[in-house]
């Protein structure tokens, strides 16, 4: 197949990627959009295999089969609750592939300074993506502690790493060769930097990191595309890079923090929130049932705790029973609830909650005063009124779901420990708040049993 035909086929693939991404923007067309984009990928792979320059197939067939089997097995076996760490691993695997493509490009003849620079970029971005994703996976799957790991002079150490990488990179670009010690230095230091930049980021900030790494995996493909002069890599990589940046930005806005603040500071140790005092009013499952039975509108506000307790199925069962009882049921989801963008939506979709019942923060807040009962399940910081009222609070200014303005609030909670940010939550002491202590799944199962009897 001639190069012209191959490049024309790449144009078709790019168009399919673009339409695929566009269709991912609406729940009704999203599945077909993903299918379209996968057809684009198939076209790109098939025409590449027909290129004249490909003369050996045994490497490709064996490696491709191994990769396909691992990918397919992982995609089928993964539980929905483990989705954040799965996405992190796929990101890392894409980043590593781009790193290797950049590395292999070094063996092509006639490496100019420009090509050397793009190889350097694919090693740098690919390396950070690879090890950063592995650390993110470790934190999300709790193989390693999910809290922020910070130490003195962390920023100075990271700055020194980056400076060393740039120095080695410049020296490599001046005199690119396959045996360049500077090249090895860039490779090793980039991988170390990937670890260093993710360890100081705590569990609740993970949505930002996952979307940022997603962006990097696209940019790494982009850089590899420059290194081998391939348009389709550049176009597709740039699309993914842009998508990741937009998501990152949405996540940062939802926490009212800048990207720099998320990346470089362990969480707000500086300010101390005004101490909250008051009386906590516990409630039993029996009493909670009586209130819910009389309610005509109920909204569930899930958080990471719902994922941990695996409570999404019983929550949906309770939601259905409430609907049969005549109540209007919604699920209000904060953009950063959970450990990745849209985490709660996926879990509730798994439990068969129709997507038109999932409402965003900006839709629920204006009408929250008319909600009879807001049920907070495993969420804390995203419903903390201190973000609105207390200027001394470290989370002051973060947009929250104003559940405290609902007529009654149930908070399902294991104990009185504070949330990830370590901030006291005045919601628990509110006049209209009732605390339902215990395992969220057990409490909800109790309520479901009451409704059925």
């Amino acid at each position: 197949m001639s190069d012209v035909l191959i490049n024309l086929a790449y144009v078709v693939a790019a168009v399919l990627f673009i339409f695929g991404l566009k269709m991912l923007g609406s729940p009704a067309t999203a599945r077909n959009g993903n299918l379209l984009s996968s057809v684009g990928m198939l076209i790109a792979v098939v025409v590449t295999l027909l290129a004249h320059s490909i003369v050996e197939f045994h490497f490709i067939v064996i490696a491709g089969l191994i990769g396909a089997v691992i990918g397919a097995f992982a995609a089928r076996a993964v539980a929905m609750t483990a989705m954040p760490e799965m996405v992190a691993l796929f990101n890392g695997s894409g980043g590593l592939a781009s790193l290797l493509v950049g590395w292999a490009a070094l063996y092509n003849e006639g490496t100019t300074t420009f090509i050397a620079f793009t190889i350097f970029l694919s090693i740098l971005i690919g390396g950070i993506t690879t090890t950063g994703s592995v650390v993110a996976w470790g934190k999300l799957s709790e193989v390693m502690p999910s809290r922020a790991i910070v130490f003195a002079a962390q920023r100075i150490v990271n700055g020194a790493f980056l400076a060393a990488i740039i120095l080695a990179g410049v020296m490599f670009c001046m005199d690119p060769s396959t045996s360049s010690p500077e090249f090895i230095a860039v490779l090793v230091l980039s991988m170390i930097l990937g670890v260093m930049v993710v360890i100081p980021i705590g569990g609740a900030d993970m949505p930002v990191v996952i979307s940022l790494l997603n962006s990097y995996s696209g940019l790494a493909a982009c850089a590899a595309g420059f290194a081998i002069h391939n348009n389709i890599l550049i176009v597709a990589g740039a699309l993914v890079g842009a998508a990741g940046i937009i998501l990152t930005n949405i996540m940062c806005k939802a926490m009212n923090r800048s990207l720099a603040n998320v990346l470089f500071s362990g969480f707000g140790a500086v300010k101390t929130a005004t101490k909250v005092e008051g009386e906590v009013k516990p409630i039993t499952v029996d009493d909670a049932y009586l209130i819910l039975e009389a309610a005509s509108s109920v909204t569930f506000v899930p958080g990471y705790g719902m994922a941990v307790a695996q409570a999404q199925h019983v929550v949906r069962e309770l939601g259905n029973l409430l609907e049969q009882n005549g109540a209007e049921v919604t699920y209000a989801i904060h953009p950063v609830a959970g450990r990745m963008p849209g985490h709660m939506n996926v879990l509730l979709a798994e439990a068969n909650v129709p997507y038109d019942q999932l409402v965003e923060m900006d839709d629920i807040n204006p009408r929250i005063d008319n909600i009879d009962v807001a049920v907070v399940i495993g969420a804390n910081d995203v419903v903390n009124p201190a973000a609105r009222n207390d200027e001394n609070s470290p989370i002051y200014g973060m947009p929250i779901i104003n559940v405290d303005k609902a007529r009654t609030v149930f908070v399902l909670k294991r104990s009185m420990a504070s949330g990830f940010s370590g901030v006291d939550n005045p919601l628990f002491f509110g006049e209209n708040t009732r605390m339902l202590f215990g395992d969220a799944k057990e409490s909800i199962t109790g309520l479901v049993a009451q409704f059925k009897s």
Binding site: F17, L21, L24, P27, A30, R31, N34, S37, M41, V45, T48, A51, I54, A63, G67, I70, G71, A72, A74, A75, V78, M83, M86, V87, F90, S93, A97, S98, L100, V101, A104, Y107, N214, S217, A221, A224, F226, H229, N230, I232, I234, A236, G237, A238, L239, V240, A242, A243, I246, I250, P335, M340, G342, N345, V346, A349, P354, Y355, Q357, E360
Partner: protein, 97 residues
């Protein structure tokens, strides 16, 4: 000149990406992310070219590993996205089990 032309492609693609994705509802953030992630597996094209070109043995090995990792990304990414999207249902569209 080639570098300028490739940069041109890059800049336009980034703008296109921003335009395309800025309006995705929060419900679809996870599938968008994993779907986009699958697209970043496009690096497989570069991997195939390295692995099959019959050049230096090291380059072929690097290419082969790249093919394997990119394939994990592509197949896994698309399949997992499809699995997730299969669960998103509208009310009363026959999906309630």
């Amino acid at each position: 000149m080639e570098a300028v032309y490739l940069t041109f492609v890059l800049v336009l693609s980034i703008f296109l990406g921003f335009e395309l994705i800025s309006k995705v509802p929060a419900t679809l953030h996870t599938p968008l992310m994993s779907g986009a992630n699958a697209i970043s597996g496009i690096t497989i094209v570069g991997a195939l070219l390295s692995a099959g070109a019959g050049q230096a043995a090291i380059a072929s090995w690097l290419g082969a590993f790249a093919v394997a990792f990119a394939m994990v990304n592509v197949i896994g990414g698309y399949m997992v996205t499809d699995r997730m999207l299969g669960m998103f249902k509208k009310k009363d569209s026959g999906g309630s089990k």
